[in-house]
Amino acid sequence: MKNAEEIFNILKDNFGDAVIALDKDTPTEAVITVDPLKIHLVGEFLRTNEDMMFDSLMCLSGVDDANGKKVKDADGTDIIEGGTLSVYYHLHSVSLKHKITLKVSAPREDAKVESVENVWKCADWHEREAFDLVGIKFLNHPDLRRIMMPYDWEEGSHPLRKDYKNPEFYQGMKVPY
């Protein structure tokens, strides 16, 4: 069993700048922020290291932080420019029974995060979901397609973004009914 601070320190020792911050202020759980392009290395380390043994990825969630600038679109609706999209990784060790939350943030306009699919297999569909609904691109993911929405849903349209607008038509069918 290790608490978040110990884990943070070990990660900091091993990865230096790739591990950005430890956020302990949230009332319920501590979050370690990691570089989005190094997350697969951190993940691999956490899974294989003897003191860590995070063999199970409980949950992977894509989040639109909506921390950018709100601007008016051409047709008067709000859209968000700038800011970040984040991915939360909730890890758990079946053998050591400790938990940790990782977070990576990538710029909203071109959100690229390394895939952890080959670290934890179950990340496959979770990442597809995050790509589908939030629009985060996972690098080196073997099969990054939409999963919930139809495969031919409008390119670049991701429903869980805070400034998502319903398209008028899908395949010639009227969407808002």
């Binding site: 949230t26 009332p27 319920t28 759980e29 979050v31 063999d55 199970s56 990825l57 409980m58 949950c59 969630s61 989040v63 639109d64 909506a66 939360y88 909730h90 079946v94 029974k97 939350t101 934890w120 297999k121 179950c122 496959d124 569909w125 979770h126 609904l133 939409r146 999963i147 919930m148 929405m149 139809p150 429903p159 869980l160 998502y164």
Partner: protein
Amino acid sequence: MSLKTETMVLNMGPQHPSTHGVLRLELKIDGELVLDVKPHLGYLHRCFEKHAEAMQYNQVVPYTDRLDYLAAMGNNWGYALAVEKLMGIQVPERVEYIRVIVAELQRIASHQVALGSNAADIGAFTPFLYLFRDREHILSIFEDTCGARMLYNYIWVGGLSHDIHPDFVKKVKEFVSYYKATIIELDNLLSYNKIFIERTANIGVLPLDTAINFGASGPALRGSGIPFDLRRDDPYSIYDRFDFEIPVGKGLQGQVGDCWDRYYVRVREMEQSLRIIEQAIDHIPEGDVQSAIPKRIKPPKGTVYTRIENPRGELGYFIISDGNTNPFRVKVRAPSFVNLEVLGELCKGHLVADVIAILGSIDIVLGEVDR
């Protein structure tokens, strides 16, 4: 002379008798041999998570019913637990006890459907109806309790929507003693049936390391032989007060982690749930079930991830609060969604008929796979 052979793509679903809803499986088959399975999801997608962002915290509860509609109590509870943790609410004892009892009843009801549909997929239709007959008792208890048979909206943030019915304790006790005797019927009729064993033993073997790496949980994980149960390993509510065992797959009829093990774990889990109910039912304290329900739910800024042991596995709610009355983000870690991912791995090299048996033994509910 050599004959030219081709592999065939068989599209199973979205409308198919045994895909348990609207799942589409793209099978690549060579004769009857399955070479590859590709699930296609999303036919039941209704963007629960987007809905949740537009609702106030307490208004989300009825939506959670629709996730795993065979285990709606668990869904309510998981969500309530997450928000309670975020706000630091301590719920009264009475509420805790009632929650445990209804959740365990729900587990039995859900397993009954799971076992029944698994049996029906394999061609044994009679056990299916026997199980549904017994499930009816639980549903009528729930109907007395909260007025609904399937989508309860019963467990609210901080409390319950209604107090229990005056007959609740009596009826639950009746059910427990009835079902303890009846569960043997299932064993005799199905569990040790030679044909059933032939169809499920050594089929779809899920090794433990694969199961963990794929994030499998619930009976699918325990069938592979590890006693990992969140009620014991990450205790929530008052589960640490009860004495119960965690059934695991032992490979009694074949290899550890085959379909029969997953099936059998569910049967034995129903017995353990009965045990928990027996221990809890006599100790429900008096009190008000709504005293802890906050007038206005406005949690502080922060994130929370809670998980509970739903009948199908680890149901997690990840909630981000930005300090408003609406959740900023709700992500559901649905057990069926994660468990289904392993299907492709399990089906390779089996026959078409086995795909059905394996899918039945994983036990998915499309309501929470697609959300």
